[in-house]
């Protein structure tokens, strides 16, 4: 029997500093490793344990993948001490991705807060690669300050590829020169500033507190519950739907999610 907890060694190809005290790890892909936007992997560092990380890279790249790691716990702290050439263990990918096929037929609104941008970066890469297959794409991105922004150098490329990108900062400081306009406030203010494309589906990813307020806006804008897709963060510990740490209602975030449509989870107490 295949041991589903067995990790495969993956060499670290590159480590770069990112915003939010994060580091972007580029890793060698294990054999037969295919993934989509919204899925995650368990990364194992023997002696420290395992932790889940969302895949944030261009999934058409066959030989490497990326995860963005913020230093928040034992595994992530140990990862921050690694160097290119070191190895980590990988298992996965796990979970249900964002439904990009649906976004090919409809306009798409992506609303992300903070580290949530990582989770949709794979989708953004895919859209840019096959831009003609998609219709109007808007991104609303909210972060705390310039230091917290992720993938700062990529916004230009996104905009050049006809992505309607809007950024707001809770505490703008003008520390970095950004090529896009910056609005002060939480991500919900962007709904007042940017006109929405017609009849879109929405992909959301952000901290739990963001969902409540964004859902209010989407509801007002007439989104149907089944057209709103959101990635839930939980403690995806075993990754294979057994240990129950990530259970939400009758779902396991690691298997049935992390991406759910709002109509799937709206009646579950504590889902958001």
């Amino acid at each position: 029997m295949h041991n589903q907890y067995q990790t495969t060694p993956a060499k670290i190809l590159k480590i770069e500093d990112e915003g939010s005290n994060s580091k972007l790890f580029t890793l060698e892909t294990p054999k037969n490793f295919k993934y989509q936007s919204g899925q995650f992997v368990e990364i194992s560092l023997p002696g420290f344990g395992e932790a889940p990380f969302c895949l944030c890279s261009d999934s058409s790249e066959k030989n490497k993948f990326q995860v963005c790691v913020r230093n928040v716990g034992a595994v992530t702290a140990a990862m921050h001490n690694l160097k290119a050439g070191d190895k980590v263990g990988v298992r996965g990918p796990y979970g249900r991705p964002f439904p990009l096929e649906l976004a090919k037929k409809r306009n798409l609104l992506i609303v992300v807060g903070g580290l949530g941008l990582e989770t949709v970066r794979t989708a953004i890469s895919e859209i840019i690669k096959n831009r003609k297959q998609y219709k109007k794409v808007q991104i609303f991105y909210g972060a705390r300050s310039e230091e917290d922004l992720l993938f700062r150098e990529e916004y230009d490329l996104w905009m050049k590829n006809d992505i309607d990108f809007h950024l707001c900062l809770d505490k703008p400081t003008d520390k970095f020169k950004l090529s896009c306009p910056v609005i002060q406030g939480l991500v919900t203010v962007l709904f007042e500033k940017a006109p929405l494309a017609e009849n879109p589906v929405a992909f959301l990813c952000g901290p739990p507190v963001m969902y409540k307020f964004v859902l209010e806006k989407l509801n007002k804008a007439g989104f149907r519950e089944e057209d709103i897709f959101m990635s839930l963060e939980r403690r995806m510990h075993c990754g294979v739907g057994v240990c129950n740490h990530c259970a939400v209602g009758s779902f396991f975030v690691c298997q049935d999610g992390p991406v759910f449509s709002w109509d799937q989870i709206k009646d579950i107490r504590g889902a958001i």
Partner: protein, 344 residues
């Protein structure tokens, strides 16, 4: 099943002394046999050292079969630097005297751990010997399960001893006689090896009875899903529960676990372990950065009930509680699952 009545006049029962001989045969064949044993005021599982002294005790043991199939802590990998190698060690064991209530929990475990290499390896080396004495008192049998013959085809075991109501002659040690069923090829094989032929085989037909879903399961599931009674979860249970986790230790269907590493501090090596966890512990839902999704005692005890009475029924169409009442027995603040279910 109808064959049983037809056949019973020419099928012999196993006497208790023959059972003891059979258990002796198993210990002689290298099996560790664990059987319920009365120690002071409590029935507990203990290793059988002398099969001639084995008794069949109807009173359910305080701890179930659980630790024999899912140990409180087990090494699952050994690592050296970044190399991780699987560790599988399972001794041959017999879990003796499991009643139909606990056998239901084994059916659940078999589902949950169907792809788990360590559980499967342990099961391969385990013989489960069930028995038919079910406590009548509601405190040990919340759902009033009765031993009827059609119970067996929905349970998983290797051998099952149906305790006969009127012993024809007194066997040594217990005075009981048993009709023997087998529920697996392993069960048949071992009886054949021992030389006992008078058994009947039961084909497992899945956990759900022909009549469909258990009405009790549907009732609790729907009640918990549809209504959130603040007065139960927050005002009462959330205020009383002290989150000791004892209920999860004795519960035969609690299986949540943690995976953690333990370095040996010598050669960059160590082990990865799996250990029981409990949704009552406050870090159960904690993610990197410290956020907890189950913040209060009320949320955690609600999660426990939801798992047993909604999530497992939604996923597997069987109840995630077998009604053994152990949780109520060990709860230091007197939380009684029977009363909680009645108030849903």
């Amino acid at each position: 099943m109808s064959g049983r009545l037809f056949l019973c006049y020419n099928i012999k029962n196993m006497t208790h002394s023959e059972l003891q001989k059979f258990i002796g045969f198993l210990t002689g064949s290298g099996y560790d046999v664990f059987a319920p044993e009365k120690q002071k005021d409590e029935v507990v599982y203990a290793k059988v050292e002398d099969a001639a002294k084995l008794k069949l005790i109807g009173e359910p043991p305080l701890h179930s079969f659980k630790r024999f199939l899912l140990p409180p802590e087990e090494v699952i990998f050994e690592y050296k630097k970044d190399r991780m190698s699987e560790v599988k060690k399972a001794r041959k064991q017999v879990i003796f005297g499991v009643n139909p209530i606990d056998l239901k929990a084994i059916v659940l475990f078999n589902h949950i751990f169907e792809k788990d290499p360590w559980y499967q390896e342990r099961m391969k080396n385990t013989l489960i010997i069930g028995q038919s004495l079910i406590p009548a008192e509601a405190e040990h049998n919340l759902f009033h399960i009765k031993y009827e013959e059609d119970v067996l085809e929905h349970l998983q075991f290797d051998i099952f001893l149906e305790v006969q109501p009127a012993p024809t002659r007194k066997g040594r040690g217990g005075g009981k006689n048993y009709f023997v069923y087998t529920g697996s090829e392993d069960g048949q094989k071992i009886l054949d090896e021992y030389g006992y032929k008078d058994y009947e085989h039961i084909q497992f037909s899945g956990p759900i009875k022909e009549e469909g879903l258990e009405p009790q399961m549907v009732k609790y599931r729907d009640a918990l899903k549809k209504i959130y009674k603040k007065e139960i979860w927050e005002d009462d249970l959330g205020a009383r529960c002290i989150e000791c986790g004892k209920c999860t230790l004795v519960c035969p269907t609690c299986f949540c676990f943690d995976i953690k590493d333990q370095p040996n501090l010598v050669d960059k090596g160590g082990v990865r372990k799996r250990a029981w966890s409990a949704c009552f512990y406050n870090d159960f839902s904690e993610v990197g950065g410290g956020h907890k999704f189950l913040k209060t005692t009320a949320e955690r005890i609600h999660f426990w009930y939801y798992h047993k009475f909604v999530r497992i029924p939604d996923q597997l169409q069987i109840m995630g509680c077998v009604g053994c009442g152990r949780c109520a027995k060990v709860c230091p603040v007197g939380i009684n699952i029977f009363k909680v279910l009645a108030s849903l």
